[in-house]
Symmetry: C2
Subunit: 350 residues, 2 copies
């Protein structure tokens, strides 16, 4: 009834607060909705005169196209889901930078989801994202819940698992081998003559990459007939402060320790500041190393030994895969391994 009336008598006072549609622009400019659509998307041939007219109308009305409708009709969504564990350490923002850089001129747009290292949260974030039918998904790590794995496999879009390649990806993967990274660091430390080595790191049960680094590290120690002398874990709080506290704890408990291997640069920096403050000879009496190569370290009084995680490059490569910028083997399923370089800094003796 209501509608029937409407169909005959146009609503005389169109609610000014109602959101605009193509029809409004179409009426304002005297062409069909289709033509307006074409103008606004720069698609198909439209005469210059019409184009001007339409753009002017759209501008003056303040029309913002409805991508929801557009996406539904065209079955195309210019969104790329990016699922990462955290934003509060320096590592993922840098990955994001790499992703954005590449996506910038592809018309694709990253949408970030944060999981706080929780597999369940990851699963639900993923579900939420997939329900918006993105053009691709970039997700940190190779470990996911079974359901998440299934969703990724079923999604029918390119999936890139990033950061880590020690495992089997669902589709494509870009990252480094954390096991190898741990191993290499251990080898360098041993080569420098340190023998009483301690590990200090996060306790988070789901930080698989830190775990793998430690595994690789211990593996290499074992091969040299060594074992960790001590270990200390933390969770939450200011990483810099934790590094300081843990270092004190370890050095008090195990005075024979001559090397401290940290699972990330931030706690490593805390440890370094502590040692310097205590007047400990670094790297003579004690050596230190972290992981990541965060920019922050450049400002420290002494450069912490670390290993670059190739974060920017990982972001770039992952985005390139999603954007289809590569020798198209339609199947996907590409694994790109990057190789971090060891930076000895000033905290491992030569």
């Amino acid at each position: 009834m209501h509608r029937a009336v409407l169909a005959v008598t146009k609503p005389p006072i169109p609610d000014p607060r109602r959101t605009l549609t193509l029809r409004d622009v179409s009426e304002a400019s005297g062409v069909s909705e289709m033509t307006v659509s074409r103008v606004l998307r720069n698609r198909g041939d439209v005469s210059e005169a019409t184009r001007e007219k339409v753009l002017e109308a759209a501008r003056s009305l303040g029309y913002v196209p409805n991508k929801i409708a557009g996406a539904l009709a065209s079955q195309r969504v210019n969104l790329v889901g990016v699922i990462i564990p955290s934003l509060s350490n320096m590592v993922f923002p840098e990955v994001m930078t790499g992703i954005s850089e590449v996506l910038e001129d592809t018309g694709l747009q990253p949408v970030v989801g944060v999981t706080n290292y929780s597999p369940d949260r990851e699963e639900s974030v993923l579900y939420e994202m997939l329900s918006w039918r993105p053009s691709g998904v970039i997700i940190a790590g190779l470990e996911h819940t079974e359901a998440a794995q299934a969703m990724l496999a079923q999604a029918g879009i390119p999936i890139v698992e990033i950061m880590d390649i020690d495992g089997t990806p669902v589709d494509s993967a870009v990252g480094i081998s954390h096991r190898r990274a741990g191993r290499k660091m251990a080898e360098a430390i041993i080569a420098a003559g340190y023998r009483n080595i301690a590990f200090l790191g996060t306790m988070m049960p789901y930080d698989h990459r830190a775990r793998k680094r430690l595994e690789g590290f211990e593996e290499a120690l074992a091969k040299a007939g060594l074992a960790l002398v001590d270990r200390e874990f933390y969770s939450g709080g200011s990483a810099l402060l934790k590094g300081r506290e843990m270092t004190e704890a370890v050095l008090t408990r195990s005075p024979q320790v001559d090397f401290l291997y940290y699972s990330n640069d931030m706690i490593g920096a805390g440890g370094l500041l502590y040692c310097l403050h205590k007047g400990i000879d670094v790297p003579g009496r004690i050596g230190l190393a972290g992981f990541n190569g965060v920019e922050l370290l450049d400002g420290l009084p002494r450069k912490l030994a670390t290993m670059d995680a190739c974060r920017l490059e990982i972001g770039r490569r992952a985005a390139e895969i999603i954007a289809g910028k590569r020798p198209n083997g339609v199947v996907g399923g590409e694994v790109i391994e990057l190789f971090p370089t060891l930076q000895k800094g000033d905290t491992i003796r030569d």
Copy 2:
């Protein structure tokens, strides 16, 4: 033609890679699409038996609802646009945490856009976001391009401008007065007896909040008959390192300086490390202060004076406004001022 055929003969071998729709679940479970829809959204009465049947079917098929279609049909989108300048300093991630916390149990989901402090980029990010018809927008700062202002005003959804309240918001605002913050810091510094004060900060022409802090700061200096003795700006690079370098530059150029006011904690920390390294008496010979209250500072050898920017709280309050969790004055247009507290730390003498 093609379609006519389809209408009669169901496609016999449904492409296994085609994405599933409600219809698939409906057929698999023998009820109407509408009932499936109801089950999956927990809306309306559905018998327990049917519910089970449907959920089982959906699960076994691996069905993921299409929110695009859902949003279009229901005219409801559970997304909140969050537009911020950067992710690579600690401040916005913390705001995000506050936002996520509150949104968590409202069914709303934050979607982040990053502008890199570029007004044009902000405008286009905003346009992009609005085209997805979010339920609300949280955007950093009060300064936007004219077009962006217009879009925000027209959008017909709650808008919250955050971080800053020195200006006129489009709708609601949650933040602190950076002018007042600068003023208060100056007053504390003067009260402590420092007289030869230098400013070290970012050069970014669009960091309006840093600018306002400096304005407030100088205002208070002027009131006490003082003026900045020196100033130094930077852009890009590792903030910690820049802080170190700038500090060296200033102290070399203006040896009479007895206080260094930094526009953020990160460069302040760099300056502090430099001074300690040089054996300068802090806060006796030279005092230092930053801004933000970042967690990082807890790990420093000495606590830098700073002023908390209430980031977490800002995020929370903004999200609450969007979520409608407050004495509903439908009009919106609420301004919430938060008051940062001065933390003198160990770098301003008593």
